[in-house]
C-alpha cells in the first residue's frame, strides 16, 4: 500500500510540474512593448506618428517654435513674464533658480525634447528596416517595399528636421544616429554643425527617394512628411549653410511639382486652420483630442492673444507696433488687414496678430478654451520667397526673377507690386517680404541671421555686429545638461556667460 501511495503522489506531482513548461513565460497584454510590437504596418505607422508627436512636444515645451523664431526677432517689444523678457532681449545666460522647473528660459536651453524625437526616428529606422516587406500594403514585393520605404522616408525626414532645428538653435550639437542600448549612457561631444547638416541632407536625399508627392486625398497630407516637405526642408538647410545654388534647385523641385498653390487673398487666413493648398509641412494639433489650453500663458494663444479670443485683456507678448507699421506700408495688404487687429486697453493700444485664433470652448463652458491651430512650418509663399533669396545670394544672382517672385506673393495678398528696386537691394526687399508674409511663423529670427551673414549689417537690437560674428545668435546649453555629460562643451559665445 505504501509503495502504491508513493507512486501515486509522485506521479501526480511530476505531472503537475512538467505539464506547464510555458508557465514562466508571461507576456504583457495590456501594454505595448518593443518585444511584442513591430509586427504589422499599423505598428510601424503608430511608431512613425510618434516622431511627429514628439516634435510637437518639443515645440510645445515653451512655445519653442515661436520663442526661437519670433520672440527674439524684433517682432515683439516686451514680454510680461520675466523669463520670456530675457528670451526676447537675448539675455539667454540668465540664472534660473532650481525651483523654477517651469521656467521658459530653462526649457529653451535644454535640447532633450528634440533628441527624444531623434531617438524615436532612430528607433523607427532600426526596427522598420528589420520588418519583412510582406507585412506592408501592396500586391507584390515591389509595392510592399515601397510602402515600407515610405515609413522609413518619414523617419529620415523627422530626424533631419529635428537636427536642422537644433543646428539653427545651438549650432554644433551631438550627432546620434544609432539605436543601441549604449546610447543611454554614452557621452556624446558636439559635432560640427556642418557634419550634422550634411547627415540631414543625406537623410533627406533618401527621404525624397522614398516619399511620394502630396496625396490630396490623404487625411495626413502635409501634416506628415512627403516629397514636398523633404525638398522644402532641404531648401532651408541649404539656405542656412549658404549653399544657395542647391537651395534654388530644392525650391524649384517644390514649386515645379504643381502640388501647391498660393491661397487667394480672400482665403489667406485659412492657411492657419491647417492643411491648406498652400501648405507644405505642418505639425498637427487642430482637433480637441490634440489641442492645448488657450488660456495657459505658456501657449502661443495665451502669450499673444486677448479677449475676445481668450480671457486676457493685455497680450503677454506685446507686438512692436512701429515694426508692424514699417513692414506693412500697404494698408490693403490682407496680411495686415486680416492678420492683425488693433486693441485698446485703457490709454494704450497695440497690434495683435490673429493668425492663430481658431479657439473653441469645451462643453460650451467659456472658462475652458482650447486652441486648434496647427504649427505651419513650410508653405509655398515661404519657398517662393526663399527661392527669391537664393537668386539674390547665389554666385550668379538673378535679381529680376527674385523681385518677380516677391511680386507673385504680393499679388496673392492684395498688395501692390514693388518696382524700382534693383541689384543687391533686392535681398533686403526679399527679407522684408518674408517678414511680412511669415510674421509669427517661426522664420523671422533665422531670416535676419541669414541676411546679416550676407550683408553684414546689424539686424538685432541686442546682438552687436561683433557679437554676431562671435555667434551670439546660437543659444547656450542649460547648465543642467553638463551634470550628466562631462564631454559636453558650452556654445562658444556663451562660455562663462551662463550663470548658475
Amino acid at each position: 500500500m505504501k509503495a502504491k501511495n508513493q507512486i501515486l503522489y509522485i506521479t501526480t506531482i511530476v505531472l503537475l510540474f512538467t505539464s506547464c513548461k510555458k508557465f514562466l513565460d508571461q507576456t504583457p497584454v495590456s501594454t505595448p512593448t518593443d518585444q511584442t510590437t513591430w509586427k504589422t504596418e499599423g505598428d510601424a505607422n503608430a511608431a512613425v506618428a510618434a516622431n511627429y508627436s514628439l516634435l510637437r512636444a518639443a515645440f510645445g515645451a515653451s512655445i519653442a517654435y515661436y520663442s526661437y523664431g519670433d520672440l527674439t526677432s524684433g517682432e515683439f517689444l516686451t514680454a510680461d513674464d520675466g523669463s520670456y523678457s530675457n528670451v526676447l532681449n537675448i539675455r539667454w545666460g540668465t540664472a534660473v533658480q532650481s525651483s523654477s522647473t517651469y521656467d521658459p528660459l530653462l526649457k529653451l536651453r535644454i535640447y532633450t525634447p528634440f533628441y527624444t524625437a531623434v531617438a524615436q526616428s532612430n528607433r523607427c529606422l532600426a526596427y522598420i528596416t528589420n520588418m519583412p516587406a510582406s507585412v506592408f500594403t501592396g500586391d507584390n514585393i515591389t509595392s510592399q517595399t515601397a510602402s515600407k520605404n515610405r515609413y522609413l522616408g518619414e523617419a529620415y525626414f523627422t530626424r533631419a528636421f529635428a537636427y536642422f532645428t537644433m543646428c539653427r538653435v545651438w549650432g554644433d550639437i551631438p550627432l546620434v544616429l544609432e539605436n543601441t542600448e549604449a546610447t543611454v549612457s554614452q557621452q556624446y561631444v558636439r559635432s560640427p554643425q556642418i557634419t550634422v547638416l550634411k547627415q540631414a541632407i543625406a537623410d533627406l536625399t533618401k527621404a525624397t527617394q522614398y516619399l511620394n508627392w502630396k496625396d490630396n486625398a490623404s487625411a495626413n497630407r502635409v501634416v506628415r512628411a512627403d516629397k514636398g516637405s523633404a525638398y522644402a526642408l532641404l531648401a532651408h538647410i541649404y539656405a542656412w549653410i549658404g549653399d544657395y545654388d542647391s537651395c534654388n534647385a530644392a525650391c524649384d523641385a517644390v514649386i515645379n511639382s504643381g502640388s501647391y498653390s498660393l491661397m487667394s487673398a480672400a482665403s489667406f487666413m485659412d492657411i492657419y486652420k491647417g492643411q491648406s493648398q498652400e501648405s507644405i509641412f505642418e505639425i498637427a494639433q487642430n482637433t480637441i483630442g490634440e489641442s492645448s489650453n488657450a488660456n495657459d500663458s505658456y501657449t502661443l494663444a495665451g502669450a499673444t492673444l486677448t479677449a475676445p479670443y481668450i480671457q486676457r485683456t493685455v497680450p503677454a507678448w506685446l507686438i512692436d507696433g512701429s515694426k508692424v507699421a514699417t513692414l506693412y506700408a500697404d494698408t490693403n495688404d490682407v496680411r495686415l488687414k486680416n492678420g492683425f487687429i488693433r486693441i485698446s486697453s485703457g490709454t494704450t493700444s497695440f497690434y495683435e496678430c490673429i493668425k492663430y485664433t481658431n479657439i473653441q470652448s469645451v462643453n460650451g463652458n467659456a472658462n475652458y478654451q482650447v486652441s486648434f491651430n496647427n504649427i505651419i512650418i513650410f508653405r509655398l509663399a515661404d519657398i517662393d520667397l526663399l527661392k527669391a533669396e537664393a537668386l539674390c545670394a547665389k554666385a550668379a544672382p538673378d535679381y529680376g526673377t527674385a523681385l518677380s517672385l516677391v511680386n507673385k506673393v504680393r499679388a496673392a495678398r492684395n498688395a501692390v507690386a514693388i518696382a524700382g528696386v534693383t541689384g543687391t537691394d533686392v535681398l533686403q526687399t526679399v527679407t522684408d517680404e518674408r517678414g511680412r508674409e511669415l510674421f509669427l511663423e517661426g522664420h523671422r529670427f533665422y531670416d535676419l541671421v541669414r541676411l546679416e551673414r550676407i550683408n553684414h549689417e546689424q539686424q538685432f537690437d541686442n546682438i552687436s555686429p561683433g557679437e554676431f560674428v562671435a555667434g551670439k545668435y546660437y543659444w547656450p546649453l542649460d547648465p543642467s545638461l553638463f551634470i550628466n555629460n562631462s564631454r559636453l562643451t558650452q556654445t562658444t559665445f556663451w562660455v562663462g556667460k551662463v550663470m548658475n
Binding site: 508557465f23 504583457p28 512593448t33 510637437r56 532650481s98 533628441y115 498637427a284
Partner: protein, 1055 residues
C-alpha cells in the same frame, strides 16, 4: 523530480526491524487531542526511537531490561515512564515557558529553544481588543527590527512596514515599489506587494480578524527567510490563526465600542480678524501703494462686499462631532470525532473623523480538520472579508486640509457645499472590497518518519471603488468614476519531510516544490457631464472625450524547489541548512533562476556540564549565528520588456478632459488621429519620462549575517535577546539612473545598486515578582538601532539626485538612502548691510543671480562664489529612522489588570512640509484672498522678518510681485525637524468577573475592560502635529488626514 530522489534515497533507511517486547501507546495533550510526531525513546537504548502517528499512536519494541521510555515533544514537558503493561495512554502537559513556544519558521514549526534563526514573535492576545481595522497597525514598536509607520490617519489605510532597514531605491515607488515584507497566513502566501487596489490606500490585511490571531512570527534573518527565497528579502511575517481544542465546544464572544476624540485643530484666525491681520502685514511690508493700485486681492480690501464677508469655520465643517468605533466577534470551536472545526466571525465598524469617511467590515473564518483515513489529515481553511469604505467623495473633504490651499474663511459657500462638507448630504461614494484566502492541505504519513504535505492555496482581493463627484464640489461637471481591481493568486506546494533520530543525533530533512501565480486585473471608467438626476455611475454620457475607460491585465508566475536540513546533537548543538532555487517570469530565461542558500548554527551553552555552577542564575544561554541569501524582484512584473506608451501629450496640451481639480487634463494619445506608440511619454510635461528597460534584469540578492544570543536569568524571570546583523542588498534594481539627454530617455534601469543595513536589536522581558506573588508586574522593552548606507552606485558611484529640482533627495555613496540635499541657512539678514559683498566685483551676494536683501535667508555659500545655487546644497539628514522600539508593562493583582504600551522612533529627520506649503501657498499676493496662509500662523508671526533690524528664524512673509527669491522652498534647512517621538499607543484596564457570579450564568470567563488608544505623544518637533505621519519617500510631514485618540469599552466572554 526532486521528490523522487528523496523518496528513493531514504527508502532503505527506515527499513529496519527489531525483536523484543512490543509496547503500544497513545500520546495526547491535556485537552485529549492526539499528538502527532511525538518522539518516544527507550532510555537505555537511545537509538531505539519512534514517533507517534497522526492518531498519537506509537509502537515501540523494547530491547533493554530497564523498560523505561522517554516521551518528548516540542512545546510540552518531557515524560519519563516505566512500562508495566502492554499498552498505555500518556498525557503531555504544555510547557508555558517562552523558550518552549512554538515558532513557525516556514513549512515547519520549532520550539523557540531550538530555533537558530532571528525570529521575533508576538502572541495574539497581546494585541487583541485594540480598536484598529488591521493587525499590522498594532505592531508598531512591539517587535525589535520591525519598523511600522503610517503616513495617514485615514481609517483602514496601509502601513509602511520595514524589517531591518530599507533597501528600496525605487524613488516614490515609481516602478511599483517592493518594500514590504512577505505575509504568510496559515501557510498561504498573501503577497500584499503584488496586490492592486482601486483606492490606493486600502489595506488588504484588514481581511484578518485580529482576535483570530494565535501568533505572529517575523522571520528577520536570512536563514529563516531563505526558505521563502523568492520575495523573502524584505523579511517574512507569518500569521497563525487559532485552532480548535479538544473537549467541549469552545464558544467565545467579545465586543467593544467607543468614541474617537477630535484631532488637534489648526489654530486659524478667521473673518474680520483674518482680514485685519493680512492687511496689516501687507501694508507694513509693501507700502500703501499696493492697495492703491489694486494689487491686493479684492477679498481683503473690499470688506463691505457680502461675497467676501464670510467667516467659515472649515475644520468645524469637516470634522465629525462624534465618531464611533465598534466591533463584535464570536467564535465556536471543537471536535466531533476526528473532525475539528473553528468558525469565527467579526464585525468591525469605524467612522472617520472627517465627514464622509468610514469603514465597515465583516470577516468570517472557517477552519476544518478532518481525518478521512488513518494517517491522513485534511485541513481546509477559508477566510473571507467583505468590507465597505467611503472616502469623502474622492477625498474632496480631506483635500481641503492640505496646508498649501487650506481655504480662507472669506470663501462664500453655497448651501449645497455646506451640506456636502458637513456630511448632511452624501453623494454616491462606495468602496467595497471582498477578500478571500482559502487553502486545502493534505498531510499523509507515507511510512514511519516520512510525511508528505500538499497544499493548494488561493487568494483574491477584489476592490471596487465608485464615486460621484458633483459639480458643486469639483466646480466643473458632475462626474462619475468607477474602478475595479482584482488580484487573484494561487499557489501549489508539495513537500516531503523525513525525521530520524539516531542516538542523540536528530535529523529532519525536508524537500519540496512550489508553483505560484499572481494576477492583476484592473478596469476604470469615468464619465463627465452627467446631467440626469439620480444617475451616479458611469452612464448617460455619449462617447467622446468625456467618457473614458481602460482595462488591464498582468500576470507573474514563480516556480521554486527547496530543501532544508536540520540537525541537532542532544538538543545542544543545533544546525540548519537550506537551499532554494527560484525562477520567476519577470526575467529572461538566462537570468530567471537563482539559488538562495542559508546556514545557521546554535549552541545551547547552558546545557554544557561546565555550565552547571552558573545554572542557578543563568538558566538558559544560547548563541546563534547565521548567514544566508534571500531574494527580491522589482515591483514591475514585465521589467525585461521595453514598455512603450501611447502618450502623445505635451506641455499645456489637453484632450479636452476637465480633471476633478477643475483644470484641463487628459492625455492626448494621437497624432492627427493616429494613435502613437513610443517609449517616451511626456505626461503633459516638457520632458519625456521614458525609462529604458534592462535586457539583463535579474534577481536582487540580500546576503545577511546574523549573530545573536538568548539569555534567561533567575528562573526565567528575566529574558534577553540580542542580535547583530549586517544585511547587504546586492544588485538592487534601480529604476532611475539618469539617461543621457541625447538618448531621449529620462532614465534607464537595471540591477545597479548595493545597500547595506547594519544593526543591533535588543529585547528584554522582565517578570519583576516571582511566580508566587499575588501582584504581578511584567515589563518589556525593545530597541533596534539600524544604520543604513549606500555601498554601490552605477556610473562610478556618482551621486543621484531625485525629486523635483527644488528639493533634491540624494543617493550618495556611504550615506543613507534618500538623504536630503538642501540649502543651509544661518537665520535671516536683518538689514541690507548684513548681506555680504563680493570683494572682487563689489556686488552683493546673489541667489541665482538675484541680489539678496534684508529679510532673505542667510544661505551658506559653500563654494564662496557669492551666488547661491544648487552647488551650495549639501546633505542634512534623511528620513530613515535610526532607533525604533517600544516598551510596555502589565500589572495585575488578582482579577484586575492594568497595562500600557508605548512605541518610539528616534534619529530620524523629517520636514515640516505643512509649514513650507502654507508659506508657498500664500507667497504670491494673488493667493492671500483665497487661502488661509498666514492666518494659520498667527502664533508664530514674530518668528518672521517684518521690518529692517528684525532678527528672526524665518524669512519675510510678504514678497513684492515679481520677486525672484524663493525663501519658502522646502529644500531649505529651516524646515528640517527632528522626527523623534514616543507615542503612548495603548492603556488598558481590565477586570475578570468573579467565578461565583459566572457559575450561575453558566459562563467560563468574563473579562471587561476600558482601553485608550493613541493617547499621547511626546515629540521633538513641537510644530508638527504627528511626526509619525510622514511621506516615506520624501520625508515630508504634510498631514492631509489627521490621527485621533480612541476610547473603548469592551468585554470578552467564554461560554
Amino acid at each position: 523530480m526532486l521528490c523522487c530522489v528523496f523518496c528513493t534515497a531514504f527508502r532503505s533507511v527506515y527499513a529496519q526491524k527489531r525483536t523484543g517486547t512490543v509496547f503500544r501507546g497513545v500520546v495526547k495533550d491535556i485537552d485529549g487531542k492526539p499528538l502527532f510526531g511525538v518522539t518516544v525513546t527507550e532510555r537505555e537504548v537511545p537509538a531505539n526511537t519512534v514517533s507517534t502517528d497522526i492518531n498519537g499512536n506509537f509502537q515501540l519494541t523494547l530491547s533493554g531490561n530497564a523498560r523505561v521510555i522517554l516521551i518528548s515533544f516540542i512545546g510540552y514537558k518531557k515524560i519519563e515512564a516505566t512500562v508495566t503493561k502492554p499498552s498505555a495512554q500518556f498525557i503531555l502537559q504544555l510547557d508555558e515557558q517562552s523558550l518552549n513556544d512554538v515558532v513557525v519558521v516556514g513549512y515547519q514549526s520549532q520550539n523557540r529553544r531550538e530555533v537558530t534563526a532571528a525570529v521575533s514573535s508576538l502572541k495574539g492576545k497581546d494585541i487583541a481588543n485594540i480598536p484598529e481595522a488591521s493587525f499590522d497597525q498594532m505592531l508598531q514598536g512591539r517587535l525589535p527590527g520591525v519598523s511600522v509607520l503610517s503616513s495617514t490617519g485615514e481609517v483602514g489605510a496601509k502601513t509602511n512596514i520595514v524589517i531591518r532597514g530599507s533597501t528600496n531605491v525605487d524613488f516614490g515607488n515609481a516602478n511599483g515599489g517592493n518594500t514590504g515584507p512577505l505575509y504568510v497566513i496559515d501557510g498561504v502566501i498573501f503577497d500584499v506587494n503584488a496586490i492592486g487596489t482601486a483606492y490606493g490606500n486600502n489595506n488588504p490585511l484588514a481581511l484578518i480578524n485580529p482576535s483570530d490571531i494565535e501568533s505572529i512570527d517575523v522571520l528577520k534573518d536570512a536563514s529563516a527567510a531563505a526558505i521563502y527565497g523568492a520575495r523573502g528579502g524584505n523579511g517574512v511575517i507569518i500569521v497563525k490563526t487559532k485552532r480548535a481544542k479538544k473537549g467541549n465546544p469552545q464558544v467565545s464572544i467579545s465586543a467593544f465600542a467607543g468614541v474617537t476624540t477630535a484631532p488637534n485643530l489648526i489654530k486659524v484666525t478667521t473673518g474680520a480678524a483674518e482680514r485685519a491681520l493680512k492687511l496689516r502685514l501687507l501694508e507694513k511690508q509693501l507700502g500703501y501703494n499696493y492697495i492703491q493700485q489694486g494689487l491686493i486681492p479684492i477679498a481683503l480690501t473690499d470688506s463691505l462686499n457680502p461675497a467676501f464677508n464670510n467667516d467659515v469655520d472649515w475644520q468645524g465643517l469637516l470634522i465629525r462631532k462624534t465618531t464611533v468605533v465598534n466591533s463584535q466577534s464570536a467564535s465556536i470551536a471543537g471536535y466531533t470525532g476526528t473532525t475539528s472545526y473553528r468558525l469565527s466571525v467579526n464585525h468591525y465598524n469605524e467612522q472617520g473623523i472627517l465627514n464622509g469617511y468610514g469603514l465597515d467590515k465583516i470577516t468570517p473564518h472557517l477552519n476544518l480538520t478532518i481525518q478521512p483515513i488513518k494517517k491522513m489529515n485534511i485541513n481546509v481553511d477559508l477566510m473571507m472579508s467583505s468590507q465597505r469604505q467611503s472616502h469623502g467623495v474622492g477625498g474632496a473633504g480631506a483635500y481641503l486640509f492640505t496646508s498649501w490651499n487650506f481655504p480662507s474663511s472669506f470663501i462664500q459657500l453655497s448651501p449645497e457645499q455646506i451640506a456636502v462638507y458637513s456630511g448632511k448630504k452624501n453623494y454616491y461614494d462606495d468602496n467595497r472590497t471582498f477578500t478571500i484566502v482559502g487553502s486545502v492541505n493534505v498531510t499523509d504519513t507515507l511510512t514511519r518518519n516520512l510525511t508528505i504535505n500538499s497544499t493548494y492555496g488561493s487568494t483574491n482581493y477584489t476592490d471596487k471603488y465608485d464615486y460621484y463627484s458633483p459639480q458643486v464640489l469639483n466646480g466643473t461637471l458632475n462626474t462619475a468614476y468607477g474602478t475595479i481591481s482584482s488580484s487573484p493568486s494561487w499557489s501549489f506546494e508539495n513537500f516531503l519531510q523525513y525525521n530520524k533520530e539516531v542516538g542523540k543525533h536528530r535529523f529532519i530533512l525536508a524537500a519540496g516544490a512550489a508553483l505560484y501565480s499572481y494576477e492583476n486585473n484592473y478596469s476604470s471608467a469615468s464619465a463627465a457631464g452627467i446631467n440626469i438626476s439620480g444617475i451616479y455611475t458611469v452612464q448617460t454620457v455619449p462617447p467622446g472625450t468625456n467618457l473614458n475607460a481602460q482595462t488591464s491585465y498582468a500576470r507573474r508566475t514563480t516556480e521554486s524547489y527547496y530543501s532544508r536540513f536540520n540537525y541537532d546533537y542532544s538538543g545542544k548543538y543545533l544546525f540548519t541548512a537550506s537551499i532554494r532555487r527560484d525562477a520567476t517570469s519577470i526575467y529572461s530565461p538566462q537570468y530567471r533562476w537563482a539559488t538562495f542558500p542559508a546556514l545557521a548554527a546554535g549552541w545551547i551553552a547552558s546545557d554544557e556540564s561546565f555550565f552547571a555552577p552558573l545554572k542557578n542564575v543563568v538558566n538558559f544561554l544560547k548563541f546563534r549565528a547565521s548567514y544566508g541569501i534571500t531574494g527580491k524582484d522589482p515591483g514591475q512584473w514585465y521589467s525585461k520588456f521595453q514598455t512603450l506608451s501611447t502618450d502623445a501629450t505635451r506641455y499645456s496640451g489637453t484632450n479636452g478632459t476637465i480633471a476633478p481639480n477643475g483644470y484641463f487634463g487628459g492625455a492626448t494619445n494621437t497624432y492627427n488621429g493616429t494613435t502613437v506608440v513610443s517609449p517616451y511619454p511626456y505626461n503633459n510635461y516638457y520632458l519625456s519620462a521614458g525609462v529604458k528597460s534592462s535586457n539583463s534584469v535579474r534577481w536582487e540578492k540580500d546576503g545577511q549575517v546574523d549573530i545573536g544570543g538568548d539569555l534567561e536569568l533567575f528562573d526565567n524571570r528575566l529574558s534577553v535577546t540580542i542580535d547583530w546583523y549586517q544585511k547587504d542588498a546586492k544588485d538592487v534594481f534601480f529604476y532611475n539612473v539618469p539617461a543621457q539627454a541625447t538618448s531621449g530617455y529620462q532614465y534607464y534601469s537595471g540591477n545597479y545598486v548595493d545597500v547595506r543595513n547594519q544593526g543591533l536589536e535588543f529585547a528584554t522581558n522582565i517578570n519583576v515578582f516571582g511566580p508566587k506573588s499575588a501582584f504581578k508586574w511584567n515589563f518589556n522593552f525593545n530597541i533596534s538601532i539600524n544604520k543604513n548606507l549606500v555601498t554601490k552606485l552605477p556610473d562610478n558611484n556618482r551621486d543621484f539626485l531625485f525629486g523635483d529640482s527644488w528639493f533634491y533627495k540624494t543617493l550618495t555613496l556611504g550615506e543613507p538612502l534618500f538623504s536630503y540635499r538642501v540649502f543651509h541657512t544661518n537665520g535671516v539678514y536683518a538689514t541690507n548691510a548684513e548681506v555680504p559683498t563680493d570683494p572682487t566685483t563689489g556686488k552683493k551676494e546673489t541667489y541665482y543671480g538675484t541680489p539678496l536683501q534684508a529679510g532673505d535667508p542667510k544661505y551658506v555659500d559653500v563654494n564662496g562664489d557669492y551666488n547661491i545655487t544648487n552647488d551650495d546644497k549639501y546633505i542634512a539628514g534623511n528620513p530613515n529612522p535610526k532607533y525604533t522600539g517600544g516598551f510596555g508593562s502589565t500589572f495585575s493583582y488578582k482579577r484586575v489588570t492594568l497595562s500600557f504600551f508605548a512605541s518610539f522612533v528616534a534619529g530620524r529627520k523629517i520636514l515640516n512640509g505643512a509649514l513650507s506649503d502654507a508659506l508657498n501657498g500664500s507667497r504670491y499676493l494673488g493667493g492671500w484672498g483665497s487661502v488661509a496662509g498666514v492666518a494659520t500662523l498667527a502664533n508664530s508671526l514674530n518668528q518672521f522678518w517684518q521690518v529692517p533690524g528684525d532678527k528672526t528664524t524665518y524669512a519675510r512673509l510678504v514678497y513684492p510681485t515679481g520677486s525672484a527669491t524663493d525663501p519658502w522652498n522646502i529644500g531649505t534647512d529651516y524646515f528640517i525637524r527632528d522626527g523623534s517621538f514616543i507615542k503612548l499607543k495603548n492603556v488598558t484596564l481590565g477586570y475578570d468577573l468573579p467565578n461565583s457570579w459566572l457559575k450561575s450564568l453558566g459562563l467560563k470567563r468574563v473579562n471587561v475592560y476600558i482601553m485608550g488608544d493613541n493617547l499621547a505623544i511626546w515629540k521633538k518637533a513641537k510644530d508638527i502635529a504627528d511626526p509619525e505621519l510622514v511621506d516615506p519617500t520624501t520625508g515630508s510631514s504634510n498631514v492631509i488626514y489627521p490621527t485621533a485618540a480612541k476610547f473603548t469599552l469592551g468585554f470578552n466572554v467564554d461560554l
